[in-house]
Symmetry: C2
């Protein structure tokens, strides 16, 4: 377990450095806007999406530098979604990664625009990848598809509509698949598209991504129920407060834990075609699973 923890830490640091570099690359038009963008983007975190792009590209002996940038673009998209999600009109959150949320520091208008700018910059970064144009187009199409109305943004609307409503398990899964699962898939696929790959490999990694997407969600739900605000860097118990449907609420604590285990096992099975080379991606699964305890 120590080893995967170190791998993740090292890669998260690489991502951090790259994000800083990308944020200092362009001449800025409005310093206050850049500051607001950096405030949330560069506030640490596990950087799991870019790390997944990196680990996937590594598995396939792909272009690591390109995967670093392609993953960083997804982190920008994840970041903008957090900024918008935290707004008073949305979840009205005060605390994010142990810091005041963006709009509390910069103002609501600035937070909305910082989110817009991060989303736009993500595509600028992707257009500048050092890959052949056809691969870049694949990555841009993939990123847009999974982060837009058919993916993350669609999921956010479903999530809002689901508050104060008792969803069925299938309905809740549809929300999660779009809201959080889609970007995990995009991350793994962006790593694939920075590499040479067979269709079979692409499908196996997509299935892996789907399973760890669900796994993440179940573990997050469990942590929101049983975690501590201080340790988490965000206010726990928000699901209950917003009356959201969660895995433990719909399935009970034990069945939720069993479902987590099941998706973890399935994720690892999907990687069998890669043999020993997939060791790190398998260890990551166990690492996520362990967070719940």
């Amino acid at each position: 377990m120590r080893e995967i923890k170190n791998i993740l830490k090292t890669k998260a640091e690489e991502v951090e450095t790259n994000l800083e570099k990308l944020m200092n690359l362009k001449e800025e038009t409005a310093p206050r806007l850049t500051e607001a963008m950096k405030y949330t983007l560069l506030s640490g975190g596990k950087r799991i999406r870019p790390v997944l792009s990196l680990m996937t590209a590594e598995l396939l002996d792909g272009n690591y530098e390109a995967a670093l940038k392609a993953g960083s673009a997804l982190e920008m998209i994840h970041s903008y979604s957090l900024i918008h999600d935290d707004l008073p009109a949305m979840d009205d959150d005060q605390l994010r990664r142990g810091k005041k949320t963006n709009h509390l520091v910069f103002g609501e208008a600035e937070a909305i625009l910082a989110g817009d700018a991060l989303l736009t910059y993500a595509f600028e970064v992707l257009s500048e990848l050092e890959l052949d144009p056809a691969a870049k187009i694949k990555i841009i199409a993939n990123t847009a598809k999974y982060s837009g109305q058919q993916g993350m943004v669609g999921g956010q609307i479903l999530d809002l509509e689901g508050e104060n409503k008792k969803l069925s398990l299938a309905e809740m899964q549809k929300v999660h698949k779009a809201k959080t699962g889609a970007l995990i898939k995009a991350a793994v696929l962006n790593g694939v598209y920075c590499s040479d790959y067979s269709e079979k490999e692409e499908q196996a990694l997509l299935a892996y991504a789907e399973n760890i997407g669900v796994l993440f969600q179940i573990v997050d739900d469990l942590l929101d129920l049983t975690g501590e605000t201080e340790k988490m860097g965000k206010v726990v118990g928000r699901d209950e407060e917003l009356n959201k449907s969660t895995y433990p609420k719909l399935l009970g604590l034990n069945a939720a834990r069993a479902a987590a285990q099941e998706h973890a096992d399935q994720a690892k099975t999907e990687l069998n075609i890669f043999g020993d080379k997939a060791e790190d991606l398998k260890a990551l699964v166990d690492y996520i699973l362990k967070r719940q305890h």
Copy 2:
């Protein structure tokens, strides 16, 4: 004058049809989100950005269908910026193109997300253009650059910061250049990149775009001062209310009109290298200029 009016009308209708088609192309995740996206995107208007892409591609004998899509993507970006701009945290507007603003109909959270989804979908549409991948990348890079922190979004922050402040002419021009000028440039350049072009042609068309960008702004400022709410489909006098710096306020009415004339002349001069082929783009300049009366 009748002729250019008809050309613009026909092209705006083509754009309208294409936007509708694009909005019905993908399976929807959340019907309410799609509805909110369509509400603002399909609410008519002059569609001047896509029309510029079309007229530019026509001038250069480029790929008209691709320019229609590339321009439509810019219209999505323009549309999302209107939705976010109208939010209570921003300009707090009630009326847009004669209809209630998006957040008044769908709610604030939904309006924020509809904007995010339109912006994201713009890049998905661009990734699907029927052009060779290198040209698509050029268009995507161009679009992102001019609509992000160095372009439109940067300009919006500068615009907010400029409220209740007396800006110098240079400061106000910096705001406009980013907030409204950038997307006009992107529109013309997207038309260029759907075509075969020389560097000289690209530069001439960029200079044309810069001049009509300023022209648009001056005419808009004049109309906000002298127009009628009913005829405009939006509340006039908002600049005054928000205490914004405008051309007539900084230069006086007559000098503002003279500046409009000057930029109109310059825009037309830039097109001289194209000879008679640039007739329509020149007529467009006169058409914009005439709106102020």
